[in-house]
Amino acid sequence: MRVTICIGSACHLKGSREVISQMQDLVAQNGLSDKVDLNGAFCSGNCVKEGVCVTVDGELYSVKPEETKGFFEKEILGRM
């Protein structure tokens, strides 16, 4: 599963770093390092959304730092 997290200017200010480090921890804790491929991405032009732009296999989501855990359980664990 390919997951990208935007690190463009706007998403950075909305907390990319926090989302990335939480996702990295969650992926490691759940032993999914082989299955989930975390990548950076530059602006996809969707920065009007409130959260950080994250894609899962090409599907776009908007994730705020405090929503990361919930997002991970629903969209990533939920698809396993």
Binding site: A10, G40, G45, V48
Partner: protein, 393 residues
Amino acid sequence: MGITVDVAYKSFNKFGEVLCGDKVEILQTEDSNIMILADGMGSGVKANILATLTSKILGTMFLNGATLEECVETIVDTLPICQVRKVAYSTFSILQVFHSGEAYLVEFDNPGCIYIRDGQLVPIPENIRVIKDKKINEFRFRVKKGDALILMSDGTVHAGVGQLLNFGWLWEDIAAYAQKQYCRTISAARLATAVCEACDELYMYRPGDDTTVACMRIIDSKPVHLMTGPAENKDDDKKMVDEFMSGEDNTKRIVCGGTSATIVSRVLGRPLDVSLDYVDPEIPPMAYMEGIELVTEGVLTLNRVIKLLRRYVEKEVVTDEFFQELDKKNGASMVAKMLIEDCTELHLYVGKAINSAYQNPGLPFDLGIRQNLVEQLRHAVEEMGKPVTVTYY
């Protein structure tokens, strides 16, 4: 072959003084680079005025093709006379290097120029001419790639007088130290800083005199192309990227901006690999693309780059610690390092498109300031004595 120079200088003020009594001017004419170092008598305001007048007069007159005699006469007639000492006095050194490789050194009462070639000191012969009662040494020679020339004010040879060293730091010892540093450092900035820092240490961080070291290294030209921001009109994307990618083989390229990087990637058909590695919490991670030396985020990174460049051009604060900051592996430090140490001319390719998503009052930083940043960047790099061109799209 055309000669290119890397120039940099560093000063310390006499302890307790706000102004520096030494002044360095770095200029370019169509066919040469000029570096002038003037040291005004005394310290503080008076010295600063004398040195500034001297260096500015020399610079302006040289630029307009005046002879050395005319320059010296003008200085002698212009400098205000000190009420206390009843003289008007400022020492100076002028180094002019032509693109053809011809060089011309003029020295008046400063410590002699340190000339290093292939790691060895080159003696500068005595050839004195008297103009208006001033004994001025002239030397005409040819430079070659790798040469380094160092001009200094007498604060260097006075370092540590009566304290750590009986007679100060002797010229021969400074030259030997510079020779050692010449082999260890690549850029003029680091060489000048190394010598100046050593003086500061000998003064035990309380310089007894204004101390300045100005360095010129003869190098290959190192053009840098920096692209930032998407073009206002999407149809210009290809033109912008083509021009950004043009230039000689030794050109280094930087892209500052996620959207810009995406455009370059699309136009060139080269994949963009975005890292997740937050080396610095405030600077977004970098990305990688074949053929582009550095790919970074845009305005936040540029904002930091400008802060670093300003620290560098505002001489008083450039220390070893600054170079440690410059050696860090975050996007901003890497861009700043390339502009300071690995660049002789900068070409900026700037897109004027406004990112609608950035017009968001909820963001804690005004992202819509790219053009303002570009102007600041241009000024900072020009202050380093490097030519800058800006093309807008």
